[in-house]
């Protein structure tokens, strides 16, 4: 936000950066090699539903386009999640699908409604990890939930090191907000 916007008291809604998502498939390979966490084939897009008929029509269109490949859920904070399931090996496919959801939302002028996107990973020891993509920043961060609303910060930081060469990792740790109860985790 520039000085003029400050003085005029207006904030421009931030546009999302969608293309960075395509770096995920190769990052998934690196992550699996380094930590044993493999993709589960579940990805999701979180957005804020706007009131009014325009958005209702749009989200019906997106669901019609993706058919029964997506399922919609609402979380306790009032955000909608479109969950996409694919074969665990087909990360590229999953990312393309997530991108399709994003671009339909953005094409209809609701780009500022996008919150984040999640691709989840798991290993045989039942550890679960999500790579969260922040649309407005164009950055990624790892999120590892543990039982009882705590998170495994050590593993998160380890994954940050592993992925640093592959993805743009969010540098401000204050923005690594926890997505408790995200579907697919």
């Amino acid at each position: 936000m520039g000085w003029l916007d400050v003085i005029l008291g207006r904030s421009k809604p931030v546009r999302p950066n969608l293309d960075a998502l395509f770096a995920l498939p190769s990052a998934a390979v690196t992550l699996q090699a380094a930590t044993g966490l493999a993709p589960t084939g579940v990805g999701s897009v979180s957005f804020r539903a706007a009131e009014g008929s325009a958005f209702a029509t749009l989200s019906a269109d997106v669901k019609a386009l993706l058919g029964d490949r997506v399922e919609e859920t609402r979380d306790e904070y009032g955000y909608s999640w479109l969950v996409v399931r694919r074969d665990p090996d087909a990360v590229g496919d999953l990312v393309t699908e997530l991108h399709a959801v994003n671009s339909s939302l953005e094409g209809a002028g609701f780009g500022p409604s996008l919150l984040c996107s999640l691709v989840s990973f798991a290993d045989p020891q039942q550890r679960r990890l999500a790579v969260v993509y922040l649309y407005k920043r164009g950055t990624f961060y790892p999120f590892v939930p543990l039982p009882g609303h705590t998170r495994d910060t050590a593993l998160e930081l380890q994954v940050r090191g592993v992925l640093a060469g592959e993805l743009r990792i969010e540098e401000d740790l204050g923005r690594w907000f926890p997505v408790w109860g995200a579907p697919g985790l």
Partner: protein, 299 residues
């Protein structure tokens, strides 16, 4: 790529006009002081010092005055969760979060810039609002932070402080004592005092008008952030309705901090005229939100 988030041109124009008038008044006042030969430098320094203190300590002053206590994500997970998500949507750093133990349903944001800001809610508002309504209120407060309203209003009110100081200064130091014995007219001290009083009155009205426009701008930005203007409207109605029913003692204590509040806490029966109010009337704010709702709904 299309967007549904148009800015409100009329509001911007009114805000610019108000700021222009304030600036003009400032120039005229300083010019008059210099023309009258007052040693204005000392007064200017005092007023400048007060401005700096207010600017740099605004977060601590307001939190202390309201009895706000900073809370960690473990203490208030739901509140932090709402703010986390709003900040991610708006791409802004997360402010500190505080809760004030008061039954007056309200919220305020303070701090000179995005890095030093605090968002504070009262236990009264946490108890009365639905989570979605609370989110609307928080989005409104975060918009105040994004618009740097504390900095803007502090600078805008500088002239008022200066004129107020000049009045007192003239009153104590030289009222009725003319500097030149051959000057026939009014004594200089009296003229300075009269000018200062006039400047104070006009700048007071202008800063109040500016504050009302900033509120409307924050309502607008907040509603666009959550995409739910009607929910923010319902929060406003609820909070304003509850305000009238709260015992007056609490309200009188709260009044000096109105400028940072989500809704003004005016004791019933002594509601000031529209012109003196820091917040626009409820109807005006609801109308504003209705317009945004219609814009979002257009297919």
């Amino acid at each position: 790529m299309s967007t549904r988030f148009a800015s409100d041109r009329g509001l911007t124009v009114r805000m610019v006009m108000t700021m222009f008038l304030l600036g003009l008044l400032y120039v005229v006042f300083v010019g008059a002081l210099i023309a009258l030969g007052v040693r204005a430098l000392g007064v200017l320094l005092i007023a400048g010092g007060m401005l700096l203190v207010q600017y740099f300590l605004s977060d601590r002053i307001a939190l202390f005055a309201m009895g706000g206590r900073e809370v960690s994500p473990q203490e208030a997970p739901a509140l932090h969760g709402l703010i986390d998500r709003l900040c991610a949507m708006a791409d802004m750093p997360k402010p500190r979060v505080a809760i004030a133990d008061s039954d007056v349903p309200n919220a305020f944001a303070t701090g000179r810039d995005r890095q030093h800001s605090v968002v504070c809610v009262t236990t009264g508002i946490l108890r009365r609002l639905e989570p979605r309504e609370l989110e609307g209120v928080l989005a409104h407060e975060l918009s105040h932070v994004a618009h740097r309203d504390v900095a803007v209003m502090t600078i805008a009110s500088f002239l008022g402080i200066l004129a107020g100081l000049m009045t007192r200064f003239a009153l104590y130091s030289g009222l009725g004592r003319s500097r030149d014995s051959n000057q026939g007219g009014l004594p200089i001290g009296l003229i300075v005092m009269l000018v200062s009083i006039a400047v104070y009155a006009v700048s007071f009205l202008l800063t109040r008008a500016l504050s009302r426009y900033r509120e409307l701008a924050a309502d607008r930005a907040g509603a666009l952030l959550t995409q739910q203007p009607s929910v923010l409207a319902s929060a406003l109605v609820k909070v304003s309705g509850e305000m009238a029913r709260i015992p007056t003692r609490d309200l009188r204590e709260a009044e000096p901090f109105n400028a940072f509040y989500f809704a003004p806490a005016l004791a019933p029966g002594k509601a000031l005229a529209q012109l003196f109010s820091t917040h626009p009337p409820l109807e005006r704010r609801l109308e504003n939100l209705e317009k945004i709702s219609a814009q979002l709904g257009k297919g």
